[in-house]
Amino acid sequence: MTGGAALSRPEPARTGGSAAGAAGAAHVRVRGLTRVYPGAGGRPPLKALGPLDLDLAPGEFFSVVGPSGCGKSTLLDVLAGLSAASAGSVSFEGRAVTGQVPDGVGVVFQEDSSFPWLSVFDNAAFGLRRLKTPEAEVRARVAEALGLIGLSGFADAFPAQLSGGMRQRVCIARTLVMRPRLILLDEPFGALDQQTKLLMGDELLRLWRETGATILLITHSLDEAALLSDRIGVMSARPGRFIDLIETGWDRERDSRIAADPGFGAITARIWSQLREESLKAMRAAP
């Protein structure tokens, strides 16, 4: 279960099953990751994920698409250190991730996770204040983050006064002020309408360029994955593995207008050709 054994194990060449690149300065390295949920009440254990391999380069924008229930969110939980792997290893900046979120990793969830009893400013400042950061620095960094996500005018508002999209931005600001080097996003725009989603995607791209962070985005939207990513990992039905890896080849300077590029259609078509069969499987397997 620990890193050493898995890392020293020779990697057999796999066809499509591995997202591991050439060994080098990987920012995130996943080897043989498996997650099994123990069976409750006499049922057999449920294999949710893997085994899968993944290497993320520093500053890369990587998206994971897959049918519902394929273990995408489980993958994010394990990468974040929010839950443990059943087998295999995850490392971030060369250190094993085990049972705790490492310093330098930020997570944004799908569900609204703003703190309703705090103002927008205090929500964004939350993590810094727990670290006893000097108040002057808290102010500067929160102001910067609120500016980046376009919420400067709402510092004193409370989450209940904001729309769903704005609340999600509050959560992104709360993560950004910590200056994470790796940002994990679990369908952060899933609950938003299509237009807001596209604009939020553009903002995310801008943040990504300006912060230089590595981003891993979990999504069920083919368009979102095709628009935003440098690389896309397509996952199979449960237990989730990578069945395809797609290099989009987009410029670093890009926004949602690339939807008009012929390459965009080609990418979504390729994802769907891989995913259709898996989605059908997932649908039939659903209770």
Partner: protein, 249 residues
């Protein structure tokens, strides 16, 4: 004043006026019930004379002690039950049936334990109130949305920080309801205890006035007690509304 407030005030004034009229016209026997105006005069006289000040203060001090102890211990019990779910599952049937037990039957026991002073009253009120606070606390902790706990973990909060900065504020509405209930239960426990078996306090004085046919004094004291309890509750209620408004506006 809001429309609802006007209606509320109107209903109260009308009820008092009707009661006053019924007493004055002899519809209700004067010996059984004083008119509200005489109750107020009697209450004012009692407060002015200072004859009952010691009893009033004793009752309030006892309620304050019982409520404070119940809130602290109930909250602590709530934290323990939350931290140890198995313990909570084991305790659940007892918590659910707790208020089926008339805890006042233990009053003689507390007198044996603590002696003839105010402490048996504190004890009986504590026993009556503490579980309300414990149940409200643990319900509040369990009501915290799991995503907020995951957020706390993703921001690398320690266990103590998570409790202090996430669980407590998220559970605040429940805790507040617990505090309100606890204060009410402490009042009931203390005054009822004084009624049954005590030589001092408002409850004792009301019972004494009743037994010696001092109707005016009895109603005056009752009015004082009612006004005090309702005021404390209204204050807590107003605080609770402010808290609630901030979370939902």
């Amino acid at each position: 004043m809001s429309r609802a407030g006007l209606i509320r005030t109107g209903v109260i004034v009308a009820a008092l006026a009707a009661l006053e009229a019924a007493c004055r016209t002899g519809l209700i026997d004067r010996f059984s019930l004083s008119p509200p105006s005489e109750m107020a005069i009697s209450a004012a006289r009692i407060l002015a004379s200072g004859e009952y000040t010691r009893d009033i203060l004793a009752t309030f001090a006892t309620v304050a002690a019982a409520a404070a102890l119940s809130i602290v211990a109930g909250f602590g019990l709530g934290v323990v039950l939350y931290r140890f779910p198995r313990l909570k599952r084991a305790a659940d049937p007892f918590l659910a049936s707790y208020y089926a037990v008339p805890s006042f039957i233990f009053y003689p026991l507390f007198i044996v334990l603590f002696g003839l002073n105010r402490w048996p009253l504190v004890a009986v009120a504590f026993v009556f109130a503490v579980v309300a606070m414990a149940i409200a606390s643990v319900d509040g902790f369990l009501s915290v949305r799991p995503i907020l706990l995951r957020t706390a973990a993703s921001l690398r909060l320690t266990r103590a920080q998570t409790l202090r900065h996430v669980i407590l504020p998220a559970a605040a509405p429940y805790l507040f309801t617990g505090v309100k209930l606890t204060v009410v239960y402490a009042f009931i426990g203390v005054v009822a205890g004084e009624f049954i078996l005590s030589g001092s306090g408002l409850g004792y004085r009301i019972a004494f006035a009743y037994q010696s046919f001092e109707t005016a004094t009895m109603y005056g004291l009752m009015l004082i007690l009612l006004t005090a309890v309702v005021s404390v509750n209204m204050l807590l209620w107003a605080r609770e509304r402010r808290l609630h408004a901030r979370l939902t506006r």
